[in-house]
Structures are given as C-alpha cells and as structure tokens.
Symmetry: C2
Subunit: 430 residues, 2 copies
Amino acid sequence: MRLVVIGGVAAGLSAAARARRLNPSLDILVLEKGATISYSACGLPYFLSGEVKRQDDLIVHTPEYFQTERNIQVRTGVEAVAIEHAKREVALASGERIKYDRLVIATGAHPDLSKVHGSDAPHVFSLHTFEDAGRIAQFLARQKPTTAAVIGAGYIGLEAAEALRANGLRVRVIDAKADVLGRDDAALTKQVRQHLEKFAVPLQCGVQVADAASLPEQMVLLATGLKPNVELATAAGVKIGRTGALEVTDRMETNLGTVFAAGDCAEAMHRVSERPVYVPLGTTANKMGRVAGANSVGIRERFAGIVGASIVRVCGLGIGLTGFSVAQAKREGFDPVSAHIEAKDRAAYFDGRVTRVELVADRRTRRLLGAAITGEQGVAGRVNVAATALAAAMTLDQFLDLDLAYAPPYAPVWDPLLVAGQQLMRVLDA
Amino acid sequence: MRLVVIGGVAAGLSAAARARRLNPSLDILVLEKGATISYSACGLPYFLSGEVKRQDDLIVHTPEYFQTERNIQVRTGVEAVAIEHAKREVALASGERIKYDRLVIATGAHPDLSKVHGSDAPHVFSLHTFEDAGRIAQFLARQKPTTAAVIGAGYIGLEAAEALRANGLRVRVIDAKADVLGRDDAALTKQVRQHLEKFAVPLQCGVQVADAASLPEQMVLLATGLKPNVELATAAGVKIGRTGALEVTDRMETNLGTVFAAGDCAEAMHRVSERPVYVPLGTTANKMGRVAGANSVGIRERFAGIVGASIVRVCGLGIGLTGFSVAQAKREGFDPVSAHIEAKDRAAYFDGRVTRVELVADRRTRRLLGAAITGEQGVAGRVNVAATALAAAMTLDQFLDLDLAYAPPYAPVWDPLLVAGQQLMRVLDA
C-alpha cells in the first residue's frame, strides 16, 4: 500500500512521519514542488532580521534524513498538476504518473496578490517560501535599499517590518483594512501604531495600494494574506468549504474517501464558534498533518480544532491573541462584552512592565470568547492560559477561579489575567 | 456593624478591602501584631539578594493609605490574645477589648521550629516576617559572614540560598526529607541538586539537623516549613481540619457562624483530590481573603480551591509545579502514570534552551493529575497552562487537543507541554 503526500513542509511531513510511525511497512512518498522541504516558514522573518544567522538553520530535516531515518521517500522540485482519483493517480508536470492508495493533500497556501498590481517588479517581494527569503536577503545585500513599504499588517507583514527595520531601512506599513492582524480591534490597532511609532515605523490603515511598484520606497514587501492552494484538489472533485479552503472532517478526510487534506490548504473548526475558519498557522498545520497521517493508515484520530491562539513579536512587543475580538464575536452571533486592563506583568518592585489584557465574554452564557494580550514579557504564557480556558469552554466565573503560579520574578500576586477577569465581571454584572 | 480582621498582610487586608468595596458604610478595623502591614512576604528573598533595593519597596500600602483611601482603620503592634465569641469580643495583650459583629481570622503562619534546637542563637534566623528580613540584612552587613547553612529545601529555603549566594556567601542547603519543595519527586530533586552544584551550593537531603547552632557555618537560616497560627482561634472554639490548619467552608466560614478564616492559617480545598490541604502561598491567601471579606458582609462568594500551582526561581532555574507528583498522587488514591521529556523551550534556532516537562495522569480516568516544569524561560506560562487544565479537570486526551500560540521567539512549533503529553499518551496506551 502506498501513501502519497503532496507538499513537503509542515502538514505534509507531519502526515508522512505519523503514518510511518503507525505503519512501518507502508510505502510513503512525499512530493514537494520547491527545492527545500521541512523548513520553518515561521522562522523566515528572523533570518531576514539576522537573528537566525544561516538560512539553512531553518531547515529541520533533509530528504536524506527522511529516506534513511524514516524510510520516507521525498522528491523535491516535483509539481503535481492533476489528481485522477478514479485511477488513484497523481500526474506530475513532467508527465510522470504516480499511483497512490491513500493521498494527503498538503499543498499549502500562496500570498494573495489578487488586489495589487506590480508584484512582478524586481523590488517587490513576498515572504512566503524559503526561496522568497533567499531572494529578499540577496536584494538587501546587493541593492542596499534604504526604504521599504510593507503592504499588509498581518503576522508576516509586522514581522517583516521589524526585520527590515533591524536591517536599518526606513519602513512604512500599509494595510487596506482598518485594523491590524485581521483582528477587527481598534484598541489593539492603536496600541500597535503607537508602539511602531517609537521605532519610526508609520502604520497606515485603511489605505488600498493599487500598484505596489508605484510606491516611492526602494523595496516593497507584499504581505496581504494567504489564499489556500485548492486548484489541484478542486479539479479532482474535492469540495471547498465556506471559507474557500478545502472542507475536511475532524479526521481530515475530504469528500473523496481515501483523500485527506491538511495544513494551509484546509479549513479548521473553531472551537468557540463551532464553525469552520481559515487560519493558516504552522502549529495548526503540524497537528492537522499528524491527524491526516494517522487516519490515512486507518488509525482513527481526530483534530479537535483551534481556538485561534497566536503570538507575534512586533519590535519587541509581544501580541498574543486567541478566540474572538468583540467585533468578531458579534459576527459569530454572540452577545459580547469586554474589558481591558493595564497592569504590571511582574511584581512592580521586580522590573514589572506594563502588560495589557483584554478579555471578551458572552453576556448571556458568561462564556469566555477571546483574549488579547500585549506586553514585553509573559505574553505567550498568558495567551496560552486564555487559550486553554477557551478550549475548556470556561465561563468567566470559572476563569476567575483559576489558581495561577506566583513568584515575584515571574508574576504579580494578582495575575493580570485575573485582574482583567475581575474588571470584566464588573461589566457583566453591571 | 463592625468587621474586625486579625492580621494585616495578604489575606487580612484583602478581606478588609473587599468588604469595604461591597459595603461602604461598614466599620472596619484591622489588627496587626507586627509593625508593618501590606508587604510582599514573597519578595523578602529578593530584598536579601539585592534585586529589590530598599526593603520599603516591598510595602504595598501603609496604614495611612487604608485610613484615608479606603476608610479602613489599621492598628499595628497590636496583639490579639483571645477571642470571646459569646461576647463578640477580641481581647488584646494590652487588656483592651474590641467588639465585633463579623470577624475574619487571618493570623497567618509561623516557621516550624519544633524539630530543631538553636533557633534563638544570634546567627540563626528565620525568613518569614518583614522584621526577619531586616534582621538578616543587618547581620549580613555588620557581621559579613562568609558561610551559611540553609535548613529546609522548600520555596523559602531555596530562594534564600540563592539570595545568600548572591551576597557572596558559601552556601549549603540541608533538608531532613529525601526531596525538595515538598514534592516527593526524586527526579526533580536530582535536577535541583545538579543545578545548585553549578553554583557550588551542595544540597544534602535526608539529613536531620538537631541543633542549628551546632553547624560550622557562620550563619544559619531555618526554613523548615510553616505551621498555621491556630491557637487564638482554637481557644475560641474554631475547629481545625485534618491538616492542622483551620477548617473552613468554600465561603471561608469557620464552625462559628460569623467568624471567617483566610490565608496561611486556613486549609484550602485541592481541586484535583477534592480534599483539604495546607499549602500556604501568597496568591491563595489573597483569594481566600477576598472571599472571606465578601461573605463577611453577606455577599455569597465561594473560593473554588487550589491546584497547587507554584513557581520558584532557584539560581536562575525556574521550577513550576502544579497538582501532584506520582508519589503524592498515589497517596491521594489515584493510579498515576507519568512521563517526562526534555525539549527546547523556543525554536532551536532561536536561542531555545532545554526545558523539562513531567506530566502525571490517572491510568483509569486518563485525567491529568500534575505537572512539573523546569527551565530558564517560559516556565511560568507553561505551568499555568497545566494548572488551567487541572482546574478544568481535563483528561490527557483533552490536553493534547490544546491549541497553543506559536512563534519562534516564544515557543517551538510543538510546545514542550504537548510533546510531554504525547509521550505520556504512549505510556498510557502501552
């Protein structure tokens, strides 16, 4: 029996590795369009910033590793152009046809360039693949640009802005939408703007750039979000869901029996709204891949879904998000109320810095719906506590009952999460 | 109506402040035996280490603050010697008698010196009160000792050892029990011993010191644990529980109707074992005080209990604990299995350091029972995620479904918590 995996980054290799662990005798073949597999896409901005010295440090494993250590065959530079499911065959660009018994589609996503012209100009870049990062690094080294515009204030855009700033460029960030990080949260946007201003990086929201090449900056980075790579799958009869990404069950099955999908090409269930969403993130891709790999060899595992937990560093400011903002929660049919506080992230006498915590809850059920946390320290831990509370479907009352660890070097005696919870309780009970 | 609170540190002042917020007209009087109120007892080691420059920085509020800003009268240097509940009176050492309608007992705890002689020698100290810390600082400044023995490897003992080391002393830590931090966890003890050895601090466990003054060190610190201050209460007819601390309901009521107890003198319910335990910690004291204050003015609030979440820094190593170790879980009647892993706490290419995670679960119910996490970074956040999972009574399966935030500066793509969970799953399913 042969498992073919299309895509050799996060989801695809997780699927292959999991299938191998569960089935030592399976024939496993991974097809990767690009030249490099198994790299940390999320690490690319830190190669550009110089915090990661060598681009190859971002590569976790080579095809040789998978062959010798895992008995998984990986072919790079190989593009699948069609899936003929009736024949259980994948057609490659070379004309070669590859038989499969089980198929995992992990084709990932591509930068959404549909709303902007000029993406093919030599000084206009995306930062999505390993090769993209190499091209940008080369451009920075050879052309020595002094100014850059980043279009898009999502994760990649903000991380890239920090990286370019670290290279000494004057940087501007422009986004067509009113708010950053796709969060629909004016207070958060304001805070990010004020923070970026300290680094002389203007943040211009609500500005639609029609032609990237028309901007005065010597370098332009397009980070206007991702679109799932679904064409190969849909041409073969795989259904897409309401988000435009591939529709999957909690076992990562598509509508075609023995074809699974995972990672940035697929939807995930949001555990707060219980609706499918499209939130392409590396950690989710790994988990989905793992589940797809298990089910592809007949082991029933399920992917529980996501609570939209994420963190990004923007010029030293940590921004942790999970669940929904007020505006998002309204759109999902909740009756949200929120409260935010600013508090020290450690004992005040112990180098405590200001952290901001916003919590969102549903007025009717009192269930916690979301959290936004910003600060210099302790943001990851606190957003993960909130994400765990969301996964447990905690009410605000249950959240306030949490027993959190305290010691002066790490936290204040009343954790900012609980201070925010107490504030939200006052709003809820008012 | 008058509320009298005996004790003016964490629990007592939390009770008074909460009562005031809920009842603006109540007459509130706080009686404190010591000279100083409202100080961070947990911060005392960091005053000794020099990380907190002035001892007064540990004082959060003064009696004047409570009088003018909260309309709460605080009397310091006042010792309550008897409670005559039939008369609703507290008798002071001075002979004065104070009437109350509601009483909150927040008498705290005292260092357990029952098993060691020599505690009254001039070079032998405890580190429990504000005054203790002042005495130690004075001794260090005037006597300039070069060697110190710390008896007791609990939180205070290990923090004090770090602080004395920071003062340039040669330090040895001795504990009568086999393991550190009251955890009953040989692997943790081994790790702490190895870590302390890097700082030339020997850790000698299983050694009972009969006479502290007989040790060769020029300074001895007794940190052999705390005993609840219950004599005042029990003489008045307040019941003690199985732990020896005051027995309270989840509303912090004692068996005497209008008398409440909170903080280090009282028991708390452990949410994993659902049995009362004695775990005197500052954050718990604050929460219990808050609940006692609310109920003392007739507002029904409950204290949900604890999951034993704590964190301590030992010579730069963070140690986060929650729930039970395997040995403790066995004693509580569970059938525990555990697994531990070592993993990088961030992406390996992003200055990831080794963190160790041990998870404990019940074989029968698969419920998570405890976690022990050590490392240089990210320990507080991870132990709090585990504590949140314990509060939600998650099974290991539910824990593995967590969606945790990922970005290279903060975490690896598979969080060490989840890696440990996967390892434990293999053990459970073996």
